[in-house]
Amino acid sequence: MGRRNIITILLFLLPAFFYLSFLFIYPFLYGLNLSLTDEKGNFTLENFIRFFSDPWDANTIWITLKIAIPATLLSILIAIPLAYYMRHGVRGEKFVTLLLILPITLGSVFIAEGMLTYMGPNGWLNKLLMFLRITDKPVKLTHNYWGVLIALIIQGFPFVFLMLLGYISGIDPNLEKAASVLGANRWHIFWKVILPLWLPGITMAMSLNFVMNFTVFPSAVLLGQPSGPTRVISISAFQWAFEKFNFHMSSAVAIIMGIVELIFILIVMFIRQGLYRGSTVAGKG
């Protein structure tokens, strides 16, 4: 392009460069360093070893996965048919979108606080369920695993739905028409045309949503049992940092969180590659 262009580009990117370096990369490196050192500053793997040898801490991974994975799967499974239905637009589309960004905007703390009353034993939801004879005693949806799961789905579903909708809107509608004329009914069209092309969007939404769910914090504390069945990994990280004042340990936990997230994303991508290739096996000519 030209040397003058490069200078402009570099100049204009300078603020972002500073931002990334000081507010993201440096803290990350600092945290990494903390996790691999002890109080005196010597290199050690003690922090990680300590985390994994204490079941009180190590189990948080499994506990969190038990919440995050079902939450992600359920959000996706509900969002897929809904987004598929809305792919060509629907009357009241704006209204639906508005309804869905409400919980995202309100955030986890407000939702948790509201759920405590609304879904509590005396709350409206239980009253309604009993009125409709779906159940004869109040269902315990707060201060347990279910409360946290529901809270995650309430907040994750709109995000996943809107992402999926965005991706499916980018699929050429003529492809469906072409498939239809070639003899495909709606079922065929979904499996052979839409789904393969939607897969990148689905995996992206799943990955992002899982990562959000895995780091759940306020919902797990307020709506769950943070000293028991819903003691998620971020609670462990928080307690090491602000109750035991051990930033070395807390950074180690944060790194572990990051690694688990990464592993999940890699697995999802791996599966997607496998599926993708499967749908394009051709009878070679």
Binding site: D172, N174, L175, K177, A178, A179, S180, V181, L182, G183, A184, N185, H188, K192, V193, P196, L197, Y276, S279, T280, A282, G283, K284, G285
Partner: protein
């Protein structure tokens, strides 16, 4: 599977919301015919095609193929069961499938055995000269190649009717002419009944057995390319086909059933109508349907003639290679375009006598 006599569309109406986008469309297509729906954007031509395909239900009228009802407002056969084929303007090739899989898509749905599928796919690709690209993906092909794959995918199904929705519009000019030739060759060879949609009148004239001209959802004229090109039914068709020297006139009287006397401003003209259209023009005269005339620039003669003599002053001369286009103005200020050989030497400002042969004056209505 392909045998049928005719495809009958009767009284087809289609609304989008409150807007009537197709109004009383009637057409009967014979087996093997190549019919083009020609019109500007918004004329309803693609909508008619989508109705025929079954991608969109109709709001009135019916579509029958021989005795089989495809859509009459109550009964509706979905597109996947009509056994038609369709080619789209943007090709609509499945991006996640190879060329082979794209072409084989419909065959596989019919659960044909693998070796038969392979055979048919290769044959279809041979017909469009694309065998060596069989394992490529659409994104690796050029626009013209993608269009040919779309064609192969269509013909491999041996459809009863082929529906083509502006298939050449996305190609550049040179490619368009090439593909036009291939389409025509394919039709000659396979004789599949074809309904073609375009806004390009050249394409329509070159490819069709019959043309249906549409404007704002209504049929303006149905005829062979020769008929449409020689005798446009109304002002819209004349304009759309690129006629020149179009003027609004008054018809003063008929003499006999083929001779018409016309006033163009101060000029009196005599036109002699073609046998087929004399009734049509008399209808225009008697019902005062805003008569217009048109004369081709190349039909105007220089010098003095037996009828229709006019004097013009040359205004602008365009040199167009094989001929020159002379723009002349009458004393009334009427612009007349005259097309003559390039070796005629006239200059701007010259006063020239011209005359128009009476049989060369086309008369049509200004109303749709």
């Amino acid at each position: 599977m392909r045998e049928f006599n005719e495809l009958r569309i009767t009284g087809l109406n289609k609304y989008y919301g409150n807007k009537k986008v197709v109004d009383n469309f009637n057409l009967t297509i014979k087996n093997g015919e190549f019919v083009t729906l020609l019109g500007p954007s918004g004329s309803g031509k693609s909508t008619v095609l989508n109705c025929i395909a079954g991608l969109v239900p109709i709001d009135g009228g019916s579509i029958y193929i021989d005795d089989e009802c495809l859509d009459d407002g109550k009964k509706f056969v979905p597109p996947e069961r009509r056994n038609f084929g369709m080619v789209f303007q943007n090709y609509a090739l499945f991006p996640h499938l190879s060329v082979f899989d794209n072409v084989a898509f419909g065959l596989k749905l019919r659960k044909l055995p693998k070796d038969i599928v392979k055979e048919k796919v290769i044959d279809a690709l041979k017909m469009v000269h694309l065998e060596e690209h069989i394992n490529k993906y659409p994104r690796q092909l050029s626009g013209g190649e993608q269009q040919r794959v779309a064609l192969a995918r269509c013909i491999v199904m041996e459809p009863r009717v082929m529906l083509l929705d502006e298939p050449l519009s996305n190609l550049d000019a040179l490619l368009r002419i090439e593909m036009r030739y291939e389409l025509k060759a394919l039709h000659e060879r396979l004789k599949i009944t074809t309904i073609y949609v375009t806004h390009d009148q050249q394409e329509a004239l070159a490819l069709s057995d019959r043309i249906v001209v549409l404007n704002k959802g209504k049929i303006q004229q149905i005829g062979t390319p020769e008929e449409i090109y020689s005798y446009p039914a109304n002002l819209f068709v004349a304009n759309f086909l690129g006629f020149r020297n179009i003027w609004e006139v008054k018809i003063s009287r008929f003499e006999g059933d083929r001779e018409v006397h016309i006033n163009l401003g101060n000029i009196n003209l005599k036109a002699i109508l073609h046998e087929k259209y004399k009734v049509h023009v008399r209808n225009i005269f008697e019902n005062n349907k805003k008569p217009y005339i048109s004369v081709r620039p190349e039909d105007i003669e220089l010098g003095e003639g037996p009828e229709n003599n006019i004097e013009v002053k040359i205004d602008v001369i365009e040199y167009l290679g094989q001929h020159k286009q002379f723009w002349g103005i009458t004393s009334d200020g009427i612009n007349i375009e005259i097309s003559k050989d390039a070796d005629i030497s006239l200059k701007p400002g010259d006063n020239v006598k011209i005359w128009i042969p009476p049989e060369r004056i086309l008369v049509f209505s200004g109303e749709d």
